[in-house]
């Protein structure tokens, strides 16, 4: 017997599970946190209304919707405005929950992630927090799975080098 369909009031637990991850994913393709929230809202409402009954893992579906909504939003904006804002907003907001205890290593790691080149960072975010496979990432970003895996590996290597510069030079 299949699981009962979620009712309209069930969206909160679903969103509490996926919302933070979706926001971080959306943040890779938007200029600000508020744009990311707009994009996630649009994608989640679309998913909830039209796709939640389709079964399977909902996260890849929602990430596809997030990416589509983010690209639509970017296209709707003036290109010059995008160039000016994209650099400014990158590090202006918190991407991660502050650690409950002081954790210098975690803080360094968060900062290092935000400073990765965007083409590496989006692969890391989709893999670690989006939970996608390299094949799914490749489909999302329209590249080969090998390219996705390479970018992921470059990104981790760069993070390691940033966090442990002495070890990596030794």
């Amino acid at each position: 017997m299949s699981a009962p369909l979620p009712t309209a009031s069930d969206w909160r637990p679903w969103f509490e599970t996926y919302g933070a991850r979706l926001l971080l994913v959306a943040r890779q393709w938007t200029r600000s946190g508020s744009d990311a929230e707009d994009v996630v809202q649009e994608a989640f409402v679309r998913f909830w209304r039209q796709q939640r009954h389709l079964g399977g893992d909902p996260l890849p579906l929602m990430i596809t919707s997030v990416r589509r909504a983010a690209l639509d939003l970017l296209r709707s904006r003036d290109r010059r405005e995008q160039r000016e804002q994209a650099h400014v907003d990158l590090n202006a907001e918190l991407w991660f929950q502050p650690a409950i205890e002081e954790n210098e290593r975690a803080t360094q790691l968060e900062e290092a992630v935000t400073k990765l080149p965007s083409e590496q960072r989006e692969v890391v975010v989709l893999k670690i927090w989006g939970g996608l496979t390299f094949a799914q990432i490749a489909e999302q970003l329209e590249m080969s799975a090998n390219t996705a895996a390479s970018r992921y590996r470059y990104a981790l290597t760069a993070l390691r080098q940033t966090l442990n510069p002495v070890e990596n030079h030794g």
């Binding site: 919302g19 933070a20 796709q51 579906l61 975690a106 981790l156």
Partner: protein, 169 residues
Amino acid sequence: MDNSLQELERELEALSPQAPSAALMNRLETELAADATAATPTRPPVTRRRYHTATSWTSWKWANWSVAAGLVALLAVATHWTDDSPAAGPLPETPVAAASTDALRPVRAARTLVESRPEAILELPDGSPVERVRDYFVDTIEWQDAAGEAQLRWEVPREAVRFVALTSY
């Protein structure tokens, strides 16, 4: 992948992305609450239909049909009397109904789609999502006599509801 990279992966996984703001939760609450109130009878209840069309026996629009039929009969009889009155002879053997079909014949029937209005997303009993779309038409029928001197045009609005399957993309 070497051990240090795997360790780094685990550290990354331990980072928690920033939670959605209360404002976003409120916006979702508002938007999805509207869905909950509009929720989803799988079949439109007949007793709550907003619109009645000529396909319903209780519709007032059947009056239009009656008026049209009456006009056709009147025109037919009038034409018949005009033709036969000078002779003042016996009525022809052709029945009135047959005469009326000779007098006015349908020459055109058309259906024009005026508007299609998406109304709601619904769930079918098997769980598949569909969109309910209401189409608004105008049906037009024209009758004309053989000589082209008399014409009757009848227009009536009509509605149809269809369900469009929604697929993922």
